[in-house]
Symmetry: C2
Subunit: 305 residues, 2 copies
């Protein structure tokens, strides 16, 4: 592939040489590198042995580059400058770009509408949102933060609970205007959205209607809560949704709750990130912001209920 790679000398020595050549002084190079003059002398000698020729001429109270040293110095300085730039660029990217993998409905019905506020708080952080229905392993990806549903036991991940994964039937007020709903079982007379969703059974169960038969209902499954909510608003039927995702629609009355009964699960929505990166400023900023937003949600909904 390439002409014999001609092994590079130890990089630590090269780095010391670069500083010493720039300063034409071992002592000042040592200061810059935060080590002693003796260490610089040691490394230079090492490199000279490696190269097979002196790189500095030792004059009484100063050092000068030899011809070989002069040939080497500019190229080395240039290479290190290039490295510094490259790492500075990545460093900036690391600090300013925050990438999130999130569940679809959380993104559309919770995160995206509020992102404007985060951008105002942290104008120098660019948020990249990636939507996925699967849980993405951090080891197999390059996301900074994830929003996922589960029980919070992910090894190696720091997890902050956001809100419970719970469900309640909702529908458009028009759909139930002329219907008398005294008992949960009455809901079965209305069209259900995504009736194949297993949570329906759980909700009826919690409502005292076990072993409900939903096979009769046409399976117009939408799969994504956001769409189910939209369908409900459009009056197409009763959807089982997490009220956290539709605060506006519930507050404005676009969606109504025929029964104020929540089916709870053992799962919640979580904000997670690798434990090792918990000190990252952008991660801290985003986490704190999300948690404060969630706290605001609770304040707004809980006392009102």
């Amino acid at each position: 592939m390439s002409k014999l790679p001609s092994k590079l000398p130890p990089m630590s020595a090269v780095r010391v040489f670069e500083a010493a050549a720039r300063h034409q002084s071992f002592t000042r190079a040592a200061e810059e590198l935060g080590m002693t003059q003796a260490a610089v002398s040691y490394q230079i000698k090492l490199l000279e042995d490696r190269v097979g020729a002196p790189l500095f001429i030792r004059l009484p109270r100063q050092v000068t580059l030899t011809a070989k040293g002069r040939q080497l110095a500019p190229a080395v300085t240039e290479a290190f400058e290039a490295l510094r730039n490259a790492f500075a660029g990545v460093e900036e990217m690391v600090q300013t770009v925050l990438s999130i993998t999130t569940l679809s409905t959380f993104a559309s019905n919770w995160l995206v509408p509020r992102l404007g506020r985060f951008r105002q708080l942290h104008p120098n952080i660019a948020v990249q949102v990636s939507v996925s229905t699967e849980i993405i392993e951090f080891a197999h990806s390059e996301f900074d933060i994830g929003i996922r549903s589960g029980t919070g036991d992910w090894p190696g991940l720091e997890a902050h609970v956001l809100f419970p994964n719970q469900f309640m039937p909702v529908c458009s007020p028009a759909l139930v205007r002329d219907v008398e709903l005294r008992d949960p079982v009455d809901l079965l007379s209305l069209p259900l959205i995504s009736p194949s969703d297993p949570w329906w059974r759980d909700w009826f169960s919690a409502a005292g209607v076990p072993n409900v038969d939903l096979s009769r209902h046409p399976d117009n499954s939408l799969g994504v809560q956001q769409f189910e909510g939209m369908a409900a608003i459009a009056g197409q039927g009763v959807a089982l949704i997490n009220p956290f995702f539709f605060p506006e629609d519930l507050a404005s009355g676009r969606l109504v709750k025929p029964f104020d009964l929540m089916a709870t699960t053992d799962r919640s929505y979580w904000l997670v990130y690798p434990k090792a990166r918990r000190r990252s400023a952008k991660i801290e900023a985003f986490r704190d912001w999300v948690l404060s937003e969630v706290a605001g949600d609770s304040e707004r909904t809980s006392p009102a209920a």
Copy 2:
């Protein structure tokens, strides 16, 4: 001078990253670098911690660069390539350029006339000859080899004796054609070249003429044996020279020895170089060549004498 130098990550880790990025494989990078796969994994993780973001995505049986890794890799590879080139250039210079500091007469009357043969033997070594009357410290210079006169006790230097520092009066045959020289003291009737040279007293001493008074002779000192020999050939007087430097002139009769008496000294001509560099191929080559040439000289002169 430059914008905050933003400390570079440990170079050893960067080097490992470079190889791993090129191969898209930790195992193959380890092979290239001559270390174990575990060491590569360790260094990569180190760099990722330092940078604050993953650089590789760990897929089942391979690794891929993340966006940050992709941003970093080309720049790093380029920088290392530049370093490799720079060091290769110096390496070549080290191997192919041999610089010598030598005494003037040795250069003109011994070395230069024979250098053609050395070049034939080693066409890939370029010899740079620098003439100096002072002995140059290797620590304060960048010479590979030195030719100097002395007793051979230079600490840190490998020293090979070439021939003794000895003297004999010579002159043009014309100068003595009509002169009867029975006794060394008769030389005093002829013009002496560089009579202020202290070796004259030593030679007369060795010839059984102690405390000779040379103050009468005009002090037309030339200082350099080469010039003294040339003056003698031109018939300007009797010169005290080292016959090693004038083999041709003595053989051809352009110079004659009025008395076959050599004044010896405790000094010799030496070929020296730093002990630490005795393994250098070009130094070995030159040293061996010089010594073989000197051996040839002795063969040619000694049996004849």
